[in-house]
Every structure is written in structure tokens, then in C-alpha cells.
Amino acid sequence: MSRELYEGLEAEGGLLGELVRLGRVRRAARELASDEYEEGWYVDETEPLAEAERLAADDGEGLVAATYAEGPWRLLVTPSPAGLLVLQQEGPAGGTVEAEGAWAALAPGEGALLAGIDRLPPALVVIDLDGRRWRLARGPS
């Protein structure tokens, strides 16, 4: 009951209700702005990327492109500040690539983004149109 009372104060009206409502909107605004900031909306780095990406990796691991291949699939994966950029070089249409909880639809010859991943994983999983799962191991950079 105390939960309903607390959460219902917004609808009570009056100055207190207005303050409660504004407080909740301000929090939502902060969190929305923070999410978009962390996801890199509108981010477009025009400085040469190689050095910038190396600096972003404070663990000292170099950020370079790598290929992932298995069966008919071959993906070129490049880290970026927004996540892993995945280019399908070989394989059929309609696949889905997965890594560390992020997903992206694949299209031959087109790029896709696995948002929020900032380093190359040892393997990627691709699910084809038939639902078959392919484990693509990381190849040479």
C-alpha cells in the first residue's frame, strides 16, 4: 500500500504532485541522454581512426580488423567506438550475427553493427535462415 501511495503522488496534483512529476521526467531525461551518449548517437569521428581506437583501449590491446569464417560464412569485423562493424563478405542472405548479447541482421556485402562491444571476441555466432547456428572462429587480422 505504501508503494501505491508513493507512486501515486504524481497524480495527486498541487505543487507537490507537480514536483514529483518533474522529478521523474528529469530522471528519465538524464537516463535517455546518457543512453544515447553511451551508444554514440551522432558520433562521427573524422580524425584518423587507427590512433584514436588504440587510445580507447586502455588495456593496451590493439584494435584492428579481423576475419571470422566457418562453412559458407566469412565476416570482416572492425571495432569502432559504437561497437563492432560487421561486413558480410561471403555467405547467404538472411543471417543473424550474435556476440556477447548483441545481435545484428546480416546482408551480403553490407555492414551491420554489434553495438556496445568494444573488443574483438574469440568467436561469433551466426544463425542462418534455417535456424542453424554456426560458430565462426576469429582468423587473421
Partner: protein, 321 residues
Amino acid sequence: MDAWPQLVADFEARTSTGASLLEVFTQHVGHMARSYPDAYFVLGRKDDDSVADLSHRAFTVCAKVEKGRFPFSGRRPFAAYVAEAFEGRAIRYHSFYAKLSIAREILRDDYAKNLVRDPVLRARAELYKAIGDVLKEVATASPGGRGSPPRWRVGGPALVRPPEVVEAELRRRGLATLADQVPFALRHGGPASQAQLARLLGPLHRVAEPDELGPTAHDPGDVALTLSLREAVLDGWAALGEEDRGLLAALARGASYDELIATDPRFAHRVAVTRAVKRITNDFVARVEAVTGGNSSTGSPLMVLESILGVLSEVADLETA
């Protein structure tokens, strides 16, 4: 040869006024900011003045404000650049080009303020909040990776469709409520952040995107009223006990009930909430309404409410969830 390291070093050593550094700083900030819409700039207007303002504030942060995160480690950014002999490209990267740069932090904070002040933008914040309420009911969150918000999902792996296909399918099926739209979008669009869902579902709720908006109106406010409000808010705050202050601060920062209970278990009891609300109404709200006039039929202007929360933020933590 890149002149930036020397420009920063001279400014730090006070052997220059920093005018040359500020000039090139502003050029780069303008270049970085070119992709952002009006909604991200002070007063909701992107023009030469607001970009210069952004540059000056970013420069001030680099010169004066100690930052805890990598790579500053509690130092002022300019001081860290000099101490570690950063190259020019690294200085520019951490100051404005990086995803999590100093200048982009300021854009984020200005955008958050505009999300509250602009009525059209505010609908985006309210949609985001409503989506969050549904997500807690129907989905599970997983970490989004370093520097990224969590991703929400329902069910197991499935074929993921592009956002425009998911939006078209939502329209075709006539799913009108968030309770129906959110799980459908996650099931067919794959794991997504709360902000990504807000962007996907915004058109279905006629919520404009940041780049569809014009400049945000700004009310400079009434100085005399602001000063009277300040006095009333501080008097009202002083009149409250510790428990009541805790509840008022939780309400003002938008804390959930669970977050309130985590910080003060006394509010698990209804009577504690009821009594605290009554005391806040009598001792705090009454003082403030004596200044504002307490017009409940039209509601208080946003400027008045923001002034109240602004003063409260000086005496209570209104940022930490």
C-alpha cells in the same frame, strides 16, 4: 609537426593566455558538433554562438575540472595531457572526438535539460520512462559492454529483423500499447537498449526525433520571484526532519519506491509515508506556495518548478538514483 602539445603546455605553464589554443579548439569542436541536431545545444538552438559556447565550456572543463575517469585519473585534462606527453591527436580525441569525450559530455547534459524544457522533447523522455516500466515487467537486462547501456531481451535467440521492418509489422498488426509493442519489438528486433526502443517506438506514438525539432523556447524567469522562491525552499527544507527530507529528496530526484526503501526502510510502512507527505505539505509546500500563489487550476510554470528543484539540489543529492 602538430602544434597542440606545445599549445597546451604553454597554457598550462601560463606562458600563453590560451587564445591560440582556444581558437583551434573551437574549430575542432565545431567540426565534431556538425552532426548533432538543435536539441543537443543550450537553449535548443544550434548556431555559431551555441557552438562557441560549447567550445568555451569544454575548454573550461579541460583547464579547470578534475576528471576521475580514464585517462585523467583525477587530474585536469590539460594537466594530464602535459604530464603524459599526449600527442596532438590524443588531446583532440579525449577533448572532443571520442565517443565519451569532454565536449560530448556537455552535449549530453544540455540535451537532458532540453528534454525537460521542450514540451515536444519531453514526450520523448516520458515515452522512454514508460518503456522502462514495461521492460521491468516483461524483459531481462544484460550488460551492454563497457561504456554502453544494458540490452533488454525476451525469450531466446531468434531471427532478427531490421528496425524498419519491425516498425512496419507493429503498424500492420495494430499493436497500440507499449505493453504489446515492447515485447514484440524485442522478440522480432532482437535485444535493444531502452533508448533504441524509444527511437523505434517514437513514431508509433507521434513522438518527434531530436533532429525534427526547432529551437527550444526559453523563459529567462523573474529574478525577484526566483529569490523569494529560494528563501522559501531553504526555509521549508530547514523545517523538515531528517526522515521527511529523505522522502522529499527521493521524490525530487525521481527515485523509485524500491530505491527509497533501500535507502530508508522506515518508508516500507504506509503510515510513515503518509505522515511524511503530510509534514512536507504543511512545512515545505505551504511555504513555497505562499510565494508562488499556489494556483492549482493552471499548475505552476516550469520555470518555477525548476527553480525549486534547483535550490533543492544545493541541499540534497538529486542526481544519484
